[in-house]
Amino acid sequence: MDGDGYLEWMRSEGRIVIVGASLAGLRAAETLREEGFTGSLTLIGDEPHEPYDRPPLSKQVLLGTASADRTLLPRRWAIDATWRLGVAATGLDMAAKRVRLADGDEVGYDRLLIATGVHARPWPHETEADLDGVFVLRTRDDAARLQRRLTSARRVLVIGAGFTGSEIASACRERGLPVTVVERAAAPLVGALGGVVGQVAAELQREHGVDLRCGLMVTGLEGDSAGRLRCAHLSDGTTVEADVALVSLGATRNTAWLAGSGLGAGPRGIACDAGCRAFDVRGIVTDDVFVAGDVARSPHALFGYQFLSLEHWGNAVAQAEVAAHNMISSSSERRPHLWVPAFWSSQFGVSIKSVGVPSLGEEILIAQGALAERRFTGVYGYQGRVIAAVTFDQTKWLEFYQRLIEGAAPFPPAFPMVDHRAEGLRPVPADFPDPSLPTHGPSVTLSGYSPTDRRVAFTPGRA
């Protein structure tokens, strides 16, 4: 039944269901219509909102230059879909090709796309997490609540200095709020960019008045008699008085609803092949279930075919487009998802961007600019080749390094670059922490070679 006849029928009259109505889900739906799919299209999303953009939530929204309920994504194409918003998918029957919904409904599909993303890892201690003043930031409702609370906050405690935590600290400082940041590693952004660059991030934070405490963990949150957050206890025995705490300890894949479905889904995501087709628990690729966005783990040729999990905006868009194309294409017309990881952040007035997989880097070379000036390009090397690059306010060089990564160019690069300084003469260790420790915030995780590996590499403690 997979002959041309089926595909033609599928494209004109088939039923496509997309679970997860956010960035990846929307872009996939648009691509399906754009490529001529005229069958029925259903988008299922547990949030009650139309697809909106998340990156502004930790930036413009907290700064007050955009509002949390006004980051809806512009549409590229009319998608003529049935929207089931505010209702979660609770189960999947792969044999019957049906998705179960929280309201008891079932929706049948011919092809299914799973784009359920991730959720913020909550504070591990439940009663402490419930204290008034303790927040996470993933959704627009989170952002609205936080933004409201910040207007009366006295001191904000940020737990975990990954990208999201650091951006929140930056916005709070810009609003004039006292901020304490507690990070288990030796510096902010260390899990994503390594210790050399992390040191620069630490200096940036301190210069902007952040009370930055590294190498420490928050061991407990304490409330007053009315259940409002009063202070936090740190692993060095000190106490930080704060009425707002932002838990930014990274994210967990939204795969719990797939438990028992037979799909290769676990806390590290859903494994799929380079064509975005999901693997089942036996390691056999499915024909009709596809995956895209933050929830996916997919193998990448540039990185030894290890499975990559990316929490990157650009990946969600690119992978959604490939998945959608492949869902309605014959096997010879399918495309691989070979997107080179790319990420941006802006914090403390600096534009930070990266390409490739920095955390694979053994060494880093400051190819241009200077760390002390907060304007530089760092190039990461792995086994003698260029594997990633990061820029602080030097975006224009990134594309060049992307090509070096794509071409597996030798590391250190064979030529000196314009504006290279003494510190860029020799590579130094990139200084990544033990990979078994969690990294915080949108980042890249390599998750081995097994499509059915459902173990988690680390046990998140308190950071």
């Binding site: 994504l73 868009v317 975006t395 224009k396 992307q402």
Partner: protein, 78 residues
């Protein structure tokens, strides 16, 4: 009116901040912050900014002819 900037693609040229300063603003030298829901009164400025962006990183909903899909610009990578 909804808009989004592909900030992987954006090079911080500030062309948009020059043409529609009420919607796009540079934050430091290269970081762009924009309002993802611009006032309709800004439409003309925003459409001009999107057209003038050297890397076509700005996607505006309903740009010009509503039936013509806006395809250029956003596609994640390059």
């Amino acid at each position: 009116m909804r808009l989004v900037v592909d900030l992987n693609r954006c090079q911080g040229y500030a062309q948009c901040a020059f043409l529609a300063p009420d919607v796009f603003a540079m934050h430091g030298d290269e970081a762009l912050l924009y309002n993802p829901h611009a006032d309709d009164a800004q439409r003309e400025h925003v459409v001009r900014a999107a057209a003038a962006c050297p890397v076509q990183a700005i996607l505006v909903e309903d740009m010009g002819d509503a039936t013509a899909p806006v395809r250029e610009g956003l596609s994640g990578g390059r």
